[in-house]
Subunit: 406 residues, 2 copies
Amino acid sequence: MTGLVRPSSTRQATEPVRQEGLRSINLELVFRHILAAPVPISRTELAAGTGLTRPTISRIVDELLAGKLITESGLTHDGRAGRPRVGLSISDEGPAGLGLDIRSDGLAACVVDLTGTVRHLAFAPSTYDDRGAPAVLAELARMAGTAIEATAAEDLTVVTATLAVPGPVDAGMVRSAPALGWRNVDAGALLRGATRHLDLPITVDNEANLAALGELYASDNTLSGFVYVSGGLGIGAGIVLDGQLLRGVRGWSGELGHVTVYPDGKPCPCGSRGCLQTYASLPAILSDDPVPPHSTPDAAVTTRADAGDPATLAALDTAGTALGIALSDAINILDIDTVLLGGAFSLLSSWLTATVRTELNQRVLTAAWAPLTVRPAQLGPDAAVIGAALTAIDQIRQHPTTWLAR
Amino acid sequence: MTGLVRPSSTRQATEPVRQEGLRSINLELVFRHILAAPVPISRTELAAGTGLTRPTISRIVDELLAGKLITESGLTHDGRAGRPRVGLSISDEGPAGLGLDIRSDGLAACVVDLTGTVRHLAFAPSTYDDRGAPAVLAELARMAGTAIEATAAEDLTVVTATLAVPGPVDAGMVRSAPALGWRNVDAGALLRGATRHLDLPITVDNEANLAALGELYASDNTLSGFVYVSGGLGIGAGIVLDGQLLRGVRGWSGELGHVTVYPDGKPCPCGSRGCLQTYASLPAILSDDPVPPHSTPDAAVTTRADAGDPATLAALDTAGTALGIALSDAINILDIDTVLLGGAFSLLSSWLTATVRTELNQRVLTAAWAPLTVRPAQLGPDAAVIGAALTAIDQIRQHPTTWLAR
DNA sequence: AGTTTTGTTTCATGGGTTGACCTAAACCGA
DNA sequence: TCGGTTTAGGTCAACCCATGAAACAAAACT
């Protein structure tokens, strides 16, 4: 994995750059080169790649080694004459990122190291009907503690945490998360309180946004612009353009579930009519059939579809059509070339993909000469936790100087 | 006007920064501070604002003065004790940007100086039925020559040109512009050929995109995220988020005219059904009534609406509703807070705004707690030319070093 | 004339570069 | 097997150049 880093030729400083700042810029440049290298890279190769001289590279590498951000990983004997090169690669010890996720079926925690490898992944099934937000976040704080302890044994230091929540978030405040029965819950403050002893900086973000970032990492940056559609009790979307998450003015972008599909269609709890959610969310696909006890909506739909239940198949067709219409709106507006079906949709993709493609090909103006990709997400239900952990560590990946200055 | 500049805390270098690069970073920082200042600013104020020391500011200011990017504009006697401050402001001589626009009713050319002031604006009524792209672009090249000559007399040097075209553009290639009857016309190459003697770097972009940038400038950066909807024979949109134009993966974003409003609605020439264009474009509002000779579609609609023609008023209502639905999709997806009605819609706004607002308030999820603004665009039909000229000059505004190094 | 603030000059600092020289560790040919 | 060759990497000087600090000059006010 090479991370979220995208080259950008523009440089916009808001504060002056002094000589010391110069070193940190070049240090970050070198670090990004090491991040981007698929195999361990030598000092000389770095000098050639960055344009800096060997003495400067040596200085910087020494600093990175001292800060445990990179490691020397043995010699490369490639048969050529001369002294073998010393490989440098991102350290799998040192700083790490913690991801936390409140999923419809339980709580998840995840630790990712600097290389982007998942080092810890825990899941605890849970429901939310009977418990309030403080209890849920206290439980999550316990899981965070366990994750930090477990990875500390492997010489990892968790430096930041990101919490994924199924709903729009605004500076740590969860505006509304119907799946959890939350309204205006200050999840950031609650979690900070519950993890006070850990002293972690905590960020809260939308689940679909983080899952999109997870998929971006997992794709090794082969995706340039895509929508991650997360199906569940509601429908959310994370939009990535040019390797960057599109957050909107207030961070409430990606409300695909409330895009109008049929202007005079079914009423939606939001007050509008014909929202995508009323056709393609799990409750809509299940219509009024109750979910059997000890099962989940996700499982109920897949088992019925597998069994060939005609009502369910018809509902999936309706859902796919509606999803395709909403997505073609998004693509006409945004000009992106890939759709990732995530959340519950990743399990249902075999019933949805064809229908979605049909609608896209008909309705997206540029589809005629620029093909679109529709495929299930890679990381499945763990996309959001992993994305959250990766986001947390990405701050250090992009700005290693802040970690070195700790 | 303060320009497109937005502070960005991230710094991502792809090439090493040496001492000289350091100076250029700080030079650009200082230049942006001067751009952002509403009134002439002194060296000492710059030092306080940027965090650099006065000697450094003096050095940089000397360079900017030598390069004619700024001028010393007299002393400020504000009654306080001490030596009076020497005001520094953006030069209204020196580099300038040229904008060119192929409008449905004619050709336009515009020159804007570094301060963002329009210094030259010319319009030549014209139709396209009888002429091919080469003839049109040759005419435009003549207008460019005149504009450059006229402004050279005022000590302005046009350094770049941007061409606005009503249709999706891809590296200078106009994919399709139905209003002009163009398909796959390499407008960039043709214009470069016709202006070879002027030796200008030429960019081609979508008309709605450039108009959006024009409105952004004109708003003095009070807009953070907005959609500029351009009504005409078709419907296009320019989307600005965080002060930056959203171009999409291939630069084809903003195809609002082909957003699906009624999935089983009227067929559209694009092959789909129920596209916004089939309800809200000028031809749709005029339905089948022919435009009188010596009039334009724009004028025909406004005169009929002013006269209270019931069919036209009904059509405007349908158009407003469809526009509101499509815009609410865009806002749910993008999270922006302002809609600017541009092109022909700016003339029709008194009949459209209320209907659009109604739909937005019903269909946008966040409208309940975050109010939306809907208003006509400020610059009217000249938005695109002005935006094009501003884009051209904006390269120097953002990276003055490239101009100094010429 | 003294004060205050602005803008400039002078000098020291410090980072990066160049270039030279050196060591380490592989290969190669005798 | 051994010394020569080749390449990687480290170390040291000298230099460049932008910034910062402090002293200095300029132009207003009191």
